[in-house]
Subunit: 455 residues, 2 copies
């Protein structure tokens, strides 16, 4: 067994909240990505900041890798223990510590999930709007720098955090900022730790920003004859005064999968899903604005819902998308990737990508949070087909190159993790990476914090 001294010391500290049971190790060896699994040597379930500080100190003294783990839903291998070590499962750190109605913020332990938080908030007229559609942990979202479909109105997790508590690599507990709307006091440690993917410290508490629940919500699903027209319509919708809380593009491949999976009858065409949030009863005006814009772009159908049941039916399709694709071939491995470009280049990169996708000898689809220039491809892969896999990897590579040429980024919301390290190098160049590396070495000189990620 590796790291015996560490595990013995941790066992003394945590007792039965440390395990080396094979099935538990296996459950922590993989995320939602296509990256191959790696086993940790032990999994810990801490219950307090002090305990995490003690764990970090033990790992640091023994130079044992430490990998923070929320819900295991990362998409680029962030939580894989590629060098073994200790996985720090934060699921027992799931308490809501403070709620401030007037200040519209809430302080939670890192293991609190998005759905858990919003359930807590449901009778308070407020909600946490950022992050992905799945039930990830708040700490994990922050560590990833996640975003999600509502970012077009409410921003990414970076825009929805007041401050963090972090256990640093030398085992100290720090607060990155006070519970205020703005501050210009010192370096912005909050935003340094957000998106640092566990490589600089362990995020243990998060103070998030809350938004008022919208009083009026409407959903529109609009079909188009071509992806060009759908994107042009999306850009125009985005620059109108509509209160867009979501503006998603799905290609006909995903729509077809949804129709099969959910017995829906959407036209098998490029489709925009819109969600509008308003505090005022003026949805009819919005309906007319949307209709006017989409008709200029040869829309073929527009479905509209303002009643809860009808909205849910329309949106089920949106949330089912990933399961619908997966259901096409339950044996296949899902390969999801994302890039972001300036909105003005979005049509160009999506068209190039779409052309490449249809030439692949496997299922390839794309969908996008087109309101902010971010889009994803979802492929169904068979890793045993080496020739096809080479083409998948080439496409992934090509998409990033296109994005970088267009002043875009290699990842808009999935992060670098284990899978996009070479692209970070391309994006920032040697000098930019050197600055990041200097910060990493300064804050984690022994390299114990989630090693082999980002760099």
């Amino acid at each position: 067994m590796r790291h015996t001294a560490t595990i013995q010391a941790l066992q003394k500290l945590l007792q039965d909240r440390l395990t080396t049971q094979p099935e538990i190790l296996t459950a922590h060896s993989k995320d939602l990505s296509w990256h191959p699994s790696h086993l940790p040597d032990a999994v810990c379930y801490p219950i307090s900041n002090q305990e995490i500080a003690a764990i970090v100190a033990i790992c640091n003294a023994n130079q044992t890798p430490l990998i923070p783990y929320g819900t295991g839903t990362s998409l680029e291998g962030h939580i894989l223990p590629v060098l073994g070590g200790i996985t720090l499962n934060l699921s027992k750190m799931n308490h809501i510590l403070g709620f401030n109605e007037i200040d519209r913020d809430c302080t939670v332990q890192a293991g609190v999930t998005k759905f858990q938080l919003n359930k807590f908030l449901q009778d308070k007229g407020l909600f946490f709007a950022a992050g992905p559609g799945i039930d990830a942990s708040i700490g994990g979202m922050m560590a990833t720098g996640a975003s999600g479909a509502n970012a077009v109105m409410y921003g990414t997790v970076k825009d929805n955090v007041r401050g963090l508590k972090v256990v640093t690599a030398d085992g100290k507990i720090i607060s990155t900022r006070k519970r205020v709307q703005k501050s210009s006091a010192g370096y912005d440690l909050t935003q340094l730790f957000v998106g640092s993917e566990g490589t600089l410290g362990i995020i243990t508490e998060v103070t998030v920003v809350l938004h008022p629940l919208p009083k009026f919500v409407a959903i529109a699903v609009v079909s188009f004859t071509s992806i060009e027209e759908a994107i042009e319509a999306a850009i125009q919708l985005n620059q109108s005064d509509l209160p867009l809380a979501m503006l998603e593009l799905m290609d006909e491949a995903i729509i077809n999968a949804i129709n099969q999976y959910a017995q829906t009858d959407y036209p098998v065409q490029p489709t925009l899903f819109l969600e509008l949030h308003s505090q005022k009863e003026n949805l009819q005006v919005f309906y007319e604005t949307i209709q006017r814009i989409v008709q200029q772009h040869q829309s073929t159908q527009m479905r509209w819902a303002t009643e809860t049941a009808a909205k849910e039916e329309l949106f089920k399709a949106r949330y089912d998308a990933i399961y619908a694709v997966k259901a096409l071939d339950p044996e296949a491995v899902v390969w999801a990737t994302d890039v972001t470009v300036p909105i003005s280049r979005l049509a160009e990169i999506i068209l190039k990508t779409k052309k490449a996708l249809v030439e692949l000898p496997l299922f390839g689809s794309l969908f996008g949070h087109v309101g902010d220039g971010n889009f994803h491809t979802i492929l169904l892969c068979n890793f045993e087909d080496a020739q096809a896999m080479k083409r998948v990897k080439d496409l992934n590579h090509q998409m990033v190159l296109w994005a970088l040429e267009m002043e875009g980024t290699c990842t808009g919301e999935h992060g670098i993790g284990y899978g996009k390290k070479e692209y970070l190098q391309m994006e920032f160049g040697e000098s930019g990476i050197e600055i990041m590396n200097k910060i990493k070495k300064a804050l984690d000189p022994n390299g114990i914090m989630n090693p082999k990620k980002i760099f």
Copy 2:
């Protein structure tokens, strides 16, 4: 002469764009704050990123301090050459490098000022909304982590930046992020350099976010019988659905100064200044909402303007405030300070501060960007009156302590600079400061970048 080798090498590089003329050195020895002046040994006027990289390399090789300088409008001594050295005046770096209408962004050299940028944008339907009311440089605002009165709607400079070009302390030019709306690629170097006050590198280019110009604007000026009622009304206004682009509180001391300075006739009472920005013609509805709320809080008068001339007249008072206070005693030194607390604690700290202000043996006033929990005091001081100055310093100290006790920050938008270093220590504690120090040492091992600031 100090730093002779540096100055000789820089002279060779810059020729007549380096000066040691006493009057120029004096002009760079002071900002807008009360802090005593310090002369630089030379002032440089670089014209390109490459030139700045060469200057940094020379200063680094000779361990000569380097102080970036925008418009000299900092409020905590940020640009004071407290150890001498070279002041880098960025006023010749004043070109607009790129404008993207669809992406709503603009890339500018650091020396471009806010007014210059907005003049460039005036026929394009877009504007740069963040930052203070004075004509500071974009680079300086970013370095300070500035904010300003419109932050309540448009956010601070932190929220209005896509990416930076920075010359690091080892003389390399890096881009902190691509020109995208969101990215989760690597550490957030953008937000690390924003607010770093020139202590980690020189910001040379900024890609800023632009907002559509509002189609309809209205101004309201509302007087109240007490500061408590004004604050309660402000909190309620802020939590309504009003499109507030500004929500400012001024106490009766400032109103009195304005009346004298600008021959206005505002009731000498605590007063709220509101600015509403809307894309739709529904100002009458907003008027009624404001009136309903302020009447619940014993407002005594409400002036309202939607026509340009009338708006300008009302707002002249707002922008004249600092000059009006200064005019009360042209010999006095203005002492301005700011803190931010959670909105829920704002009334409490403002009342405590107000009570302390009226007991001072000198002019003391307060005003606040109350929409985000931030407020300022403005005092008129005579540094020769040692007893009075002790009381001013005690009040400044006490305000910060109150803010910190209330989960607030020692500065919301002025920054730490030279004046608030001890409070940064209090706010972050030893462990937090240690993390910042590690970053500073990693990125600027020779300590040449704006030394003695922040820490």
